[in-house]
């Protein structure tokens, strides 16, 4: 299956990070770096644990941690669903 943005996955769906998109603007740079710092790296397993009312944010398990991400944040992470 081709990679899809993490933001498009429904709760309960797991996958493997295929890539983290480069920042589109200088403003996104710290955000993208932080995504990598907290574990969103190619090859890492992720799972969407929950989705808040109103479709965002989503709760994503990565490694041993769970992070809440807004849709635009999660869209930087490309995932191959399993």
């Amino acid at each position: 299956m081709p990679p899809v943005p993490l933001s498009s996955l429904r709760p309960g769906i797991a996958g493997i990070v295929a890539a983290v998109l480069p920042p589109a603007t200088a403003q996104d740079e710290p955000l993208v770096r932080r995504l990598a710092e907290i574990g969103f790296l190619p090859g890492e397993a992720v799972r969407v644990m929950a989705r808040a009312p109103g479709a965002e944010p989503i709760a994503v398990r990565v490694g041993r941690s769970t992070f809440a991400l807004r849709r635009f944040e999660a869209a930087f992470v490309q995932v191959e669903p399993r």
């Binding site: 770096r33 990598a36 808040a52 009312p53």
Partner: protein, 622 residues
């Protein structure tokens, strides 16, 4: 031993949620000092301890950080301290990198990043008991070899949990001349490289079984449920407010009686005169009327602390993020705003964890609209005096309904103001949330008790200093100058306060306030709850002859119209007059612009709301 060996300056560095603060408390016990860093309101927690050999260790607890590339003001401060950029903090001679032993994969990255700082480091594997219970086997020697730094096990929540760390602090030879390093943020490629290094080290030194997250996941399925999550949160908050009112009743009655008793005793024991008036009317009546709110504040904080320690608060922020974003805030605003129900000052300070400056500013601006506990005395007095105690719809107590409506009015106005604020300022792109939802933990009694003791201390210090001093001032300006001999009317009308009240009256007459209320509003600037105490003093001193009113409620019920009372309630929903809040906003935003803007908009809203309330109530015949 030479002097250098007798002293050591260390700092605790670690991710949020790694149990760092518990370890700090364990190391330093009660020898702590909580202050702020100069120029920013990031809390500076410092303490000291003595090792078995007599070495004095000064311990600095740094704000939790995921990285030395900061996303929030908290993280920026941590970076500045460890890189030696701050002039008001000496660079630590030794860093204790505190890690959550159950989540080294996330935590070790910061350790590797800190290694580039060139300061000696000792790694503390915190929560090592929990890690062992989960079957995680950490080869300490191998880990120390891979990292090139000593590694000790710690358990922040056990009395003996820091023994290995203390032994290390006893022996280590610190770097005596830590030079400011030339710190440059790593590139994205370097971040990825560091992560690969973390994995390599974990492979060499740590064996972890598949983690069992079934319990956490099950709880999350319930509390984060897309439909039931929000009602569950609402129920928890409802329970909290119920508890604040029902549980606190007994201790509050006891405190009130104690204060009255003390007043009566002093009244009888002291000779009539200026001094007795100062002690009884000023100090005891004034300070006592504020002190009775201690139980409510403690219950509110008990809930906030327990929810915080359990890991639920970030979930609440998760659930509300979308709704709050629509109003121009962020889910991260939830925790500061919840604290603002106790007091806007800690609320404003808690906004420092909000990464986006725009969201942070909006949160700060609306924090004073959350009904703080200092407004409770005013509400309680007015509702008790003017709202009859009867059932509504056969279910609810009318007084309770009015109180609830006042809280809701505050929340709704906050949302409206935040929304207006968002539309008045140009958007600078989407702001990130990126918030960890930590593993659930059962709150520890000891940590709750410590938090409550801290809160009680702050409150009592406030009562004993600023409130006490102001009550003396109120008493003074209400008593002097004395009226000329044979003058008609109450003595207070001739005092400074009486003159001030009369001068302000034209501004407040359209909204139904009399000069007594105007006087009470002045000291209310320093602390809102003083308005009640000041009314007490004003009416006590304006009683002609010896008829000293001991019950303020019936007095104002007899003298004010219902419209005036409702107008004052509306005023207090906005209540612009709180110097401590404005001062903390000034410090937090580092400019006069925002506190002035805040005072202005709150004053305007308060006046308009009171005017409308008063006029509508009059028209309705109240």
């Amino acid at each position: 031993m030479d002097a250098a060996a007798l002293h050591l300056r260390i700092a605790l560095l670690g991710n949020p949620n790694c149990g760092k603060t518990a370890l700090f408390n364990l190391l330093t016990g009660s020898r702590q000092k909580v202050a702020n860093y100069a120029g920013v309101t990031v809390e500076r927690k410092e303490g000291s301890m003595r090792t078995p050999s007599g070495r004095l260790v000064r311990v600095l607890d740094l704000p939790g950080a995921y990285s030395l590339n900061p996303l929030s003001p908290d993280e920026a401060l941590t970076r500045d301290v460890v890189t030696g950029l701050r002039s008001d903090v000496e660079r630590p001679e030794l860093l204790v990198c505190v890690t959550d032993a159950t989540n080294l994969r996330l935590n070790l990255r910061l350790v590797l990043e800190a290694r580039r700082l060139g300061v000696p480091i000792v790694v503390a594997l915190n929560m090592s008991d929990l890690a062992r219970r989960r079957g995680i086997v950490i080869d300490r020697q191998a880990l120390a070899r891979e990292l090139g730094m000593p590694v000790v096990e710690t358990v922040g929540v056990h009395d003996e949990g820091a023994r290995a760390l203390v032994a290390h602090l006893d022996e280590c030879i610190p770097d005596r001349k830590p030079e400011p390093v030339d710190w440059t943020a790593p590139t994205l490629a370097e971040v990825v490289q560091t992560q690969q290094q973390v994995r390599r080290i974990l492979q060499a030194a740590v064996r972890e079984p598949e983690v069992d997250t079934r319990l956490d996941d099950a709880i999350d399925r319930v509390v984060l449920h897309p439909f039931w999550g929000v009602p569950i949160l609402a129920a928890i908050l409802f329970l909290m407010f119920q508890a604040v009112f029902s549980w606190a009743q007994l201790p509050m009655d006891a405190l009130e009686q104690g204060v009255q008793h003390a007043g009566a005793l002093l009244q009888a024991a002291m000779p009539d005169g200026v001094l007795r008036s100062l002690v009884v009317d000023g100090v005891v009546a004034g300070v006592g009327s504020v002190l009775v709110f201690l139980p409510q504040i403690l219950i509110l904080f008990l809930f906030i602390l327990a929810l915080e320690d359990s890991g639920y608060l970030p979930r609440a922020a998760f659930l509300l993020d979308r709704m709050m974003a629509a109003a121009g805030l962020s889910g991260r605003s939830f925790i500061p705003l919840l604290s603002s129900f106790a007091c806007a000052v800690p609320g404003v300070m808690a906004t420092r964890s909000i990464t986006s400056w725009r969201d942070r500013l909006a949160t700060i601006m609306v924090a004073p609209l959350m009904t703080c506990s200092a407004r409770l005395p005013v509400y309680a007095l007015l509702i008790g005096a003017f709202v009859p105690e009867r059932q509504v719809a056969g279910l609810f107590n009318l007084q309770g309904v009015v109180l609830f409506a006042l809280y809701v009015a505050g929340i709704v106005s906050a949302m409206a103001v935040a929304w207006a604020f968002k539309h008045l300022r140009r958007r600078d792109g989407q702001s990130p949330l990126l918030m960890e939802l930590p593993a659930y933990r059962i709150p520890r009694l000891r940590s709750l008790a410590r938090g409550l003791a801290e809160r009680a201390g702050i409150f009592i210090r406030r009562v004993g200093t600023i409130i006490l001093a102001l009550m003396v001032v109120v008493w003074f300006i209400s008593s002097f100058p004395a009226p000329p001999a044979g003058a008609p009317g109450a003595a207070i009308q001739y005092s400074i306060a009486g003159m001030l009240g009369s001068a302000l009256e034209p501004l407040f007459r359209p909204i139904g306030f009399n000069w007594q209320i105007c006087i009470a509003l002045i000291p209310g600037l320093a602390a809102r709850e003083i308005a009640v105490a000041a009314l007490g003093t004003v009416y006590a001193l304006s009683a002609t002859g010896d008829a000293v009113a001991d019950q303020l409620g019936p007095v104002i019920a007899g003298r004010w119209s219902l419209a005036t009372a409702l107008s004052l309630l509306a005023w207090y929903v906005f209540a612009p007059q709180c110097i401590s809040t404005l001062a903390v906003v000034r410090r937090e935003t580092n400019s006069w612009r925002y506190p002035l803007l805040m005072a202005g908009y709150l004053f305007g809203l308060a006046w308009v709301a009171s005017f409308l309330t008063y006029r509508i109530a009059l028209a309705a015949g109240a």
